[in-house]
């Protein structure tokens, strides 16, 4: 994986070095909004590099986690650079909204029941107020 990173870095660095940073968007000669928001030349190139690596990681990470191959490109393209970096870093520990509260261990039953009744949590339907 490290080698892949290195290869991607070298390729990216070479392309950036030879063409100048090309903003995403409709026209290469314009300074793009997202690029301006990231706001700094060398830092931005580094940021873009990180984002490109993150997107590369994401493609693999999403595929490994069951995302259909034909959906990968569109899902990754819809993320901003910041989001791509964030998602790549936290794909296994970011909250995954699910709403599936079946299969809870008996050990925590009493605790959750109590906190439900006190209104801190909301696991068991029968504690709900009308």
């Amino acid at each position: 994986m490290k080698t892949t990173h290195r290869i991607v870095s070298v390729v990216l660095a070479a392309s950036i070095g030879s063409t100048g940073f090309v903003p995403r968007g409709a026209h290469a000669a314009l300074i793009g909004t997202e690029q301006l928001a990231a706001n700094a030349g060398p830092k931005e190139v580094r940021g873009a590099l990180l984002a490109a690596l993150a997107r590369d990681d994401l493609r693999r990470a999403l595929a490994e986690r069951g995302v259909a191959p034909e959906r990968l490109a569109a899902r990754i393209a819809a993320l901003t650079d910041d989001e791509a970096v964030q998602l790549a870093a936290r794909i296994d520990d970011a909250p995954a909204g699910a709403g599936d509260v079946i299969g809870y261990a008996v050990v925590v039953f009493a605790v959750l029941l109590a906190s439900d009744i006190l209104g801190f949590t909301r696991i068991f339907p029968f504690t709900r107020m009308p």
């Binding site: 899902r75 819809a78 901003t80 964030q86 909204g97 709403g99 009744i117 801190f120």
Partner: protein
Amino acid sequence: MIDRRTSLLALLPPGFGLAGCATVPPATRALREVRPPGLPAAFELHEVPFFPHTAYHCGPAALATVLGALGKSVDPDSIAADVVLPARRGSLQVEMLAAARRHDALAVALPADLAALLGEVAAGRPVLVLLNLGLAWFAAWHYAVLVGYDLERETVVLRSGTTRRDLFALRTFEHTWARAGSWSFVAVVPGDVPQSASERAATEASIAFERVAAPALAARAYRAALSRWPRNLLLAMGFGNASYAAGDFGAAAEAFAAAAALHDSAAAWNNLAEARLRLGQRDLARAAALRALARAEAAEPMWLPAARETLGRLE
């Protein structure tokens, strides 16, 4: 209700502390004391659609709900392939935002302020929230859509799971929402700016929208945000860039010229040169490119390569 709760408490093992019993979270307490001016005592968006979901599909269902409220008919099953991460048995927050954008809606994050959420509901915007229905150390993450509230009864109404009108105690909603990081967003059509959105949140949402939206729609989103925050350089540049991408070089040049005059930004001068060139105003374009170079040399070295390149093409 009280009786039922008290009798349930009696079932608990002896010695089970009731220390937290009286805890009313801060926002609920504040709303109890003073109702924010202009906020109705109760409000409910009855017409917001409902998509009961099964298994771990609360993310797609919640998205279909807020998009449906905008008049977009979206099938939760089809959107599931765009947000659900099968191995995590759920959907992650950034992908929820991205999926909304892919359906031509801006996903604007709201501040961590319960009253702001209620205000958006009263203004007709259902709010997609992340809740932790469990505990900090035993999380049960869940997406739901806030569609109503009643401050007298201290309740909120959610489109949630398999329940069309899921009634939460306001304090329970606050607890479970705060435990999930007080995260929420509204999906809006380009041109609508949520009243409680911060300048930063609206700007970020617009920039992210520009990435996937048709340029004309992105321009509409930027224009609306810019009219609320006219001194924001990113919004002005975004409006110019989106207009340019939509082929409206006149509007783009106007936006860049205004931004250049207001902020003396090298990027604004640079893009103004490009727009003027497209309008066939070569001399004016060259003047703008010179300003871009001068400004980049003086204070914004990161745009030197772009400014040199633009000027180079004009000479």
